[in-house]
Assembly symmetry: C2
Homo-oligomer: 667 residues x 2
């Protein structure tokens, strides 16, 4: 009789080794953090004794689950924004919040929270990729969980590195400090091909090879990224990444939704592991990964939850179940990805994908004792059938839930017994998390109070006030304007013809803000579009001042190039209404009385208003300057030689609302 | 201050009414089984008092979930067979087990088990469709759950009706007995267009109209059923069902996976509710239902789990989440089917789809008090954000789980408090279920012990023994056979040419059974295939007896038309090996010595054996008859006029194994 530390006996043991051994009733003997023996209960109890003998009757005893791709600290962003397009979600919410809040203590707390959730649902190993990865590593180690911690490197500045050189330096330091830790495997995480550069990828691959650590990367998550990559580099993503030497390292590629057959062969050939993240791929509408084909080709495919901001949890049971179900739906084959294979992906397959299968992923003598005990006697898993040995896997994958996990051990240490966490204080973690959530709420609520501050968050430019004096005249034809422009008193500097398609987003905020999204097409002499400019301008409804002859002083509080689509702004700003104004504009820069003016002769296209409009405008800096320019504008009006100029106080957007009502495009 | 029975206060109340009112902290006042008032906690506590005030702080208070399509008693078949094709699963396992085991006590127990699981996960109303529906109704009523109970009617015999007339009679009796019950709404359930007839559908529709009860039916679950329907009836399924007057009744159609635009319009026009069953549709690889389009068209779409044998549980949280996720993946739009809409489908949408929205589905004064209280403070749902009111829905749909449900009330009666079931004894139910499972296991194990009994279960024909005496001669060419056939002593009655493609399934069972699947093509004079027959024959390896000149007495224990595909039989019987034998056979029925014989002149095609084979055979009934025929066969051999006939003892399958080894087709 050999003395061991603990014996888990009486359950149905699924070893998840190459032979898929099942022992029922079976037992696992654990000594020194390692698995000493696995077999039938009789056999093990005859050969080993232990002070701690844990009765696992009515339970399944399985390898601890392996979450092959997540961003653990993002538990703190769980539910911060949902059901949005990827760009709105990422650039409108997640990235601004990350830039403001992500610090080492945020990552530490978020990871501990994640560990509590992962332990509760039977996960003993996870592959992480975030910022301040040292805090992630420290939090995981303290929780007693195994983790592959990849420090994220991007070509732009991140919450923990102003440049990628700095990021690489950080990463090297982190790896050197943590290499050889019994639970933590540090790694390098170049974020994705589209967020890095060839040089950056080469540096990361060299570092991974030199320091002998894994490399974690996102590959081919969205169709858009894949199409843009091909357009830019003239080759598919995988061969391009290979060209940078990345696949010489021990690589895990997350997502791999949009790959062609050749790319899959390349991954297989280079032993690249894949993390399949079905919930995230559905929730962000990224697509259906060709999982069945990858498995057929012999690629090591694990399962990941992705970050809890796009899932919204870290429950590998939901993920396993979804992987098994989705494969059947996508291939129209109900025998595709059967339960045993799904559980294998979540255990030994994940270990292989992460290049840690020598340590974990199955219950085999010599491996580290990473074990989950799952209660199969809950009412939702009743009754049990014994005929088909595969029924155990079906029970685990199709009916069991994260909340059925009773006990969890990692490297021989109990992390949960009878659903009590032993290494973490959930209540304290939840209270701290609630604090952070309140601060994030305040940040976002404050931001959303005014359209301007919401705009500033994504605008990446400073607030800028612009004052203009201007007058608008309605004309029945172009003649008066031609008289003005041909007057000897003015000099026409720069004429141009434009077609301007404006979309005004209207808001209910205290400022009655209007955000104008302008597509400004510059038309050449042949009537062709020569260039197009996109601008975003925030205008408040109130006029600053009114001078004689309806010369108005107006203010725009923000004016910047519009770098994203109208659709993005619409979904991000959620206006209460939307109005379209289209016009052809003849624009002249003129000098008069030693002063620069812009004269616009506008032909409205939408709404269809009769006649034309003439605008005379000038920028201004001071009240005194504004008064002087208002007077000059009065003189210019005289040059129109109209008996009674029909002055218009309203802006085009107001005329449009009057003429057509609000645009129906908004839901 | 008005006195009520109970006040649930302090939680976030999601009323799921037309305005999607949210009260946080909110309260619900309950009196006489009905909702008296819903509002902010302050407001309700100021207006009402109750002896029972339940603190719902940290919880969401929502309408009880509605499972719009299930077969509750099938909890007892949960996990009996998984990861199989629909036909193998249904005809090979589920239907044989149902025919043997489904009795009223089975349905009662299975439903009670289902109710326990549904209450635990917050479901207060379900639409059922099974056999002995009265037992289902009784079990649900005793558990205190609301149910729409549709007695299944099919055109063939069912566990509770030998013919459909009998089924209709049962149904009418059941409806008359249960109509007006406070919790149970009896209904009629014609199974599906492909399992009923036009006449049967018309009768069901008339009954539903006459007795004013709902009608529950499966529609367009699989592509195959839809294609076959169109081929048979020359029109799509929905208009055909409409033609039978079905949509005059209050109809709920389950699945609706394969509908065209016109069919969806028809459903909408007639107020047909739909139950979307995403897990089942994936697990059986039925396809992706056009849910987003149906919702756009204004169809009332609820969510169902389908039976727990194809899910494998009754968890509406998994179903809601999957409905929301899948819609995004299928439409490539991450804003499709947002969380609020998913929760609406699982509550008020389901109530509308089931035509019970006047009673349940939302928290509104006057409706029955069907309520679930969901703990939102579990670690997997931490932290919470307050900025976006829709965040509550996202929490519920994307992160909450069935196990988070704390309390459940149906019609004002508490069914669960603090996760303790109040109307059911789970342990006793589980023990009884284990008993049934053991019996089903025994039945299936016994059946699988021999290929014959497995065959008999699906064969729908009696076991039939056939004895044959036969001899086989190897020839280098056809000449000897021609001599025999042109002999004046015999009369050739019926010559034919066939190409026979045989697949032998080999088994490791005690009988060394061989199951032959034969595609027998009858070739006309022009060499064209005139007809094809499919037969299944079970042969045991051992010869019954051997006579002089290698005349053998052999026995086939089962011989029947093969009505299903080779693929079906392969997956159902799971042979250990598979061997192909193809040959061209010239077959002659001859009379000789007053006795009928068959003479086969066979040219092997696969394996490619040199020369030809001649077989002389005759059926026999008794030992004496067999001896006589063996002698006659000896005489016939002489007519070949061969010096030394090369007699062959082996069967073709044995020659094939020798020549080519076992077929590699089997995995």
């Amino acid at each position: 009789m050999t003395e061991v530390d603990a014996i888990l006996t009486g359950g149905s043991v699924a070893a998840m080794n190459d032979d898929f051994d099942l022992f029922s009733p079976g037992a696992v003997a654990v000594r020194g953090g390692l698995i000493q023996a696995v077999g039938s209960a009789d056999q093990i109890l005859a050969a080993y004794t232990a002070e701690q003998v844990v009765d696992c009757g009515g339970c399944a005893v399985i390898p601890g689950l392996i979450n092959a791709h997540t961003h653990a600290p993002m538990t703190l962003l769980r539910g911060v924004a949902d059901d949005l397009r990827l760009d709105v979600w990422l650039m409108g919410y997640v990235m601004p919040v990350e830039q403001t809040f992500v610090r080492p203590d945020f990552c530490w707390l978020g990871t501990q929270l994640a560990c509590a959730e992962m332990i509760r649902s039977g996960t003993t190993c996870f592959a992480d990729m975030y910022y301040y990865e040292e805090a992630v590593a420290d939090a995981a180690a303290e929780a007693g969980l195994r983790a592959i911690c990849a420090e994220t490197v991007l070509r732009f500045s991140t919450p923990d590195a102003l440049s990628f050189d700095e990021g690489l330096e950080h990463t090297r330091d982190f790896i050197l400090r943590w290499k050889g830790h019994p639970l933590i495997m540090p790694a390098v995480g170049p974020h994705a091909p589209y967020t890095t550069t060839a040089q950056l990828l080469r540096s990361c691959a060299q570092m991974a090879l030199e320091l002998d650590v894994p490399l974690h990367i996102h590959i081919a998550e969205t169709a858009q990224e894949v199409e843009e990559h091909r357009a830019e580099h003239g080759m598919p993503m995988v061969p391009w990444v290979k060209k940078q030497g990345v696949f010489e390292a021990k690589v895990t590629a997350a997502h791999c939704v949009h790959l062609d057959e050749g790319e899959m062969h390349t991954l297989q050939h280079h032993g690249v592991g894949v993390s399949h993240n079905p919930t995230s791929n559905l929730k962000l509408a990224s697509g259906f990964a060709p999982v069945v084909r990858m498995l057929e080709l012999g690629i090591d495919v694990g399962i990941g939850t992705d970050g809890p901001a796009s899932n919204n949890d870290l429950d590998m049971w939901e993920e396993m179940r979804l992987a098994a179900l989705l494969a059947k739906g996508v291939t129209s084959d109900p025998t595709a990805l059967p339960a045993r294979q799904a559980l294998a992906m979540a255990t030994i397959g994940g270990a292989r994908a992460l290049h840690v299968d020598q340590h974990t992923g199955s219950l085999e003598p010599g491996k580290r004792a990473d074990v989950a005990v799952v209660d199969l006697q809950r009412i939702h898993n009743t009754p049990r059938f014994a005929r088909d040995p595969d029924a155990l896997y079906a029970q685990l994958v199709y009916a069991a839930k994260g909340s059925d996990v009773r006990d969890v051990m990692c490297q021989g240490q109990w992390l949960m017994r009878e659903r009590n966490l032993l290494t973490l204080d959930e209540e304290a973690l939840a209270a701290e998390a609630a604090n952070i959530a309140r601060k994030i709420d305040t940040f976002l609520i404050h931001r959303e109070e005014s359209v301007l501050s919401k705009l500033l968050v994504i605008g990446q430019v400073a607030q800028e006030k612009t004052f203009e004096v201007q007058v608008k005249v309605h004309l029945t034809d172009a003649q008066p304007a031609e008289r003005l422009l041909s007057s000897s008193e003015i000099v026409v500097v720069k004429p141009s013809v434009r077609r301007q398609y404006d979309t005004y987003f209207l808001f209910d905020d205290p400022y009655h803000s209007r955000l104008r999204y302008r597509e400004d097409e510059l038309i050449d002499e042949d009537g062709q579009v020569q260039d197009a400019l996109y601008r975003l301008t925030l205008i408040s409804e109130t006029k600053e001042r009114e001078y004689a002859r309806l010369v108005l002083l107006s203010r725009s509080r923000f004016d910047a190039p519009a770098t994203r689509s109208r659709r993005f702004y619409r979904e991000y700003f959620k206006p209460v209404a939307e109005v379209a104004v289209h016009k052809e504009r003849r624009r002249y820069r003129v000098r008069y009385g030693g002063t620069d003016f812009a004269i616009n002769l506008d032909q409205p296209l939408k709404p269809e208003l009769p006649g034309m409009f003439l605008e005379i405008k000038s920028r201004t800096w001071s009240r005194q300057d504004a008064e002087r320019k208002a007077e000059l504008i009065g003189d210019l009006l005289d040059l129109l030689q109209l008996e009674q100029p029909e002055l218009v106080k309203q802006e085009y957007v107001e005329l449009a609302v009057e003429a057509e009502g609000l645009d129906e495009e908004i839901g």
